[in-house]
């Protein structure tokens, strides 16, 4: 039977980047993907490089906001990973890091921005709160309704359609085997260590396994007899027609669901966490094999928020809207690292993984080879070990 150092389940950004890092370091790697490379959230998301604390972490009270602010430590590392990625891959990923603005339109939201900036500065992130006029001096396209903004000079965006394919190509060039259209049906532990991974027409032995399969990660973990508290969520993204350059920044809103940016080609991508509806299975549960359906109120609400903040968008045609599926964890933070009760089994999933994905991959690859993993402690699956007291 074929034997590899590491089997990676999932051909998204994190899986491909980890395959690249491991192969480059000399490990034998087989990546197994049920569909196509970049077919899930890695290719469906809107490509934000957001280093400020996300709005979703702020809307459930100070306690959760405080806990989530620890993610900033990883965001700081991610800034450097993104700055070096195009050079390291020798590929044009349309990485733009011209800065980001998270805006507020009410006094309450301005106060939220200020509290957020305090947290971020405490964690060493370069963020400052500026008033509406100062924001419009940087970003003349912003509406008069913007009262203040948190500015991060490092934020920006990259092209989700090119990043993961470039990582997969680099992984192949470094010697990794990438198997697509191959669903994994079994993940078994071997006596004496290591794992057997099997699916239709293949099986292999791997010393270590990384499951980085987005919304499918929880189901794959059941193959290893593990609970992983990851829940699928369906979101909405929109694109306008191309227009002349007008928004060089990443724009987000602290009190409304909004992220927007202008692509290299000139389209404005508009998202920000508006829900779509997951398909359901007849007996209960969600059917991830079928596309989520759009919720009309999400579409109108998202576009309203975009036009309120950047009025010039009202002159543009919407040319595409699409739904995508990602996963959130029980405490909102991603789950990345080795499962303590199953040495050799690693997880990387749970959202924020476009921005943080290259960092997760580099740190996981290094830790798999015995390197330090302290930077991943805040996202380690160890915090959910209590769920697996009867599993494993």
């Amino acid at each position: 039977m074929k034997r590899v150092d590491v089997a990676i389940v999932g051909g998204g950004l994190v899986g491909c980047a980890t395959a690249w890092r491991l192969s480059t370091a000399g490990a034998s790697v087989e990546l197994i993907e049920a569909a196509d490379i970049n077919a899930g959230a890695s290719g469906q998301n809107a490509g934000s490089l957001h280093f400020q604390i996300e709005r979703r972490f702020l809307e459930n009270g100070d306690a959760l906001a405080e806990q989530a602010s620890s993610i900033v430590a990883l965001s700081r590392i991610a800034v450097e990973d993104w700055r070096g990625l195009e050079t390291a891959l020798n590929a044009d990923l349309h990485v733009s890091m011209a800065g980001g603005l998270m805006v507020a339109e009410t006094a309450d939201h301005v106060a939220l921005l200020e509290r957020k900036a305090t947290r971020e500065q405490r964690e060493g992130l370069k963020v400052r709160t500026i008033d509406g006029d100062a924001a419009r001096a940087i970003a003349p396209y912003l509406s008069a309704s913007v009262l203040a903004a948190n500015h991060s000079a490092d934020e920006g965006h990259a092209d989700p359609r090119t990043v993961t394919p470039a990582l997969a190509a680099a992984a192949r060039a470094a010697g990794a085997t990438i198997r697509t259209h191959s669903a994994v049906h079994a993940i078994g532990r071997r006596a004496g260590g290591g794992f057997t991974i099997a699916g239709n027409g293949f099986s292999l032995h791997a010393d270590q396994v990384l499951i980085a399969a987005g919304a499918w990660t929880a189901a794959l973990c059941t193959l290893a007899n593990l609970h992983m508290p990851l829940y699928p969520v369906a979101l909405l993204m929109n694109a306008t027609e191309r227009t002349a350059p007008m928004v060089p920044h990443l724009v987000q809103h602290v009190g409304r669901r909004l992220s927007l940016k202008q692509t290299h080609a000139g389209n404005l991508l508009i998202g920000g966490g508006w829900p779509s509806r997951l398909a359901q299975l007849p007996g209960g549960g969600f059917d991830l094999s079928r596309r989520a359906t759009m919720i009309p109120d999400s579409l109108s609400g998202n576009l309203r928020a975009a036009i309120d903040v950047v009025p010039a968008i009202s002159r543009l045609n919407l040319i595409r809207s699409w739904t995508g599926v990602t996963a959130i964890s029980a405490d909102q933070l991603p789950i990345v690292g080795q499962v303590p009760r199953m040495p050799g089994l690693w997880i990387a999933a749970g959202g924020s993984a476009f921005t943080l994905g290259p960092t997760f991959a580099r740190l996981v690859a290094s830790a798999m080879a015995g390197g330090p993993s302290e930077a991943l402690d805040i996202v380690s699956p160890a915090r959910f070990e209590h769920l697996n007291g009867f599993m494993g």
């Binding site: 027609e241 191309r242 080609a265 000139g266 002159r315 543009l316 045609n317 040319i319 595409r320």
Partner: protein, 93 residues
């Protein structure tokens, strides 16, 4: 792709739209896209490499038929826009 009007149909009044500065005959009730294709004007817009693109779905979904309305600079879908006498558009976008 080019288009030919089916002979013998009852049509609205003869009108003229202007495409890239040139008069294009149309009949009231037709879409702008119909008039353009009937006149063999099948390049509606351009991609980022300046390659011509043309009408694909003819039902408002694909956005391949976006043209620029000269009066206000707005981009409009030719397949959803009714031809109006004197309506002026450009296809250089």
């Amino acid at each position: 792709m080019s288009g030919t009007r089916i002979p013998g149909e009852t049509r609205g009044a003869a009108i003229t739209v202007i495409v890239d500065g040139a008069p294009v005959p149309a009949f009231a009730g037709e879409t702008l896209a119909t008039a353009m294709i009937a006149a063999d004007r099948t390049a509606f817009r351009h991609d980022t490499r300046r390659v011509a693109r043309g009408l694909f779905c003819n039902m408002g979904s694909c956005s391949e038929c976006l043209v620029t309305r000269v009066a206000d600079g707005r981009r409009i879908r030719a397949c959803l826009t009714e031809a109006a006498d004197g309506l002026e558009v450009r296809t250089d976008g």
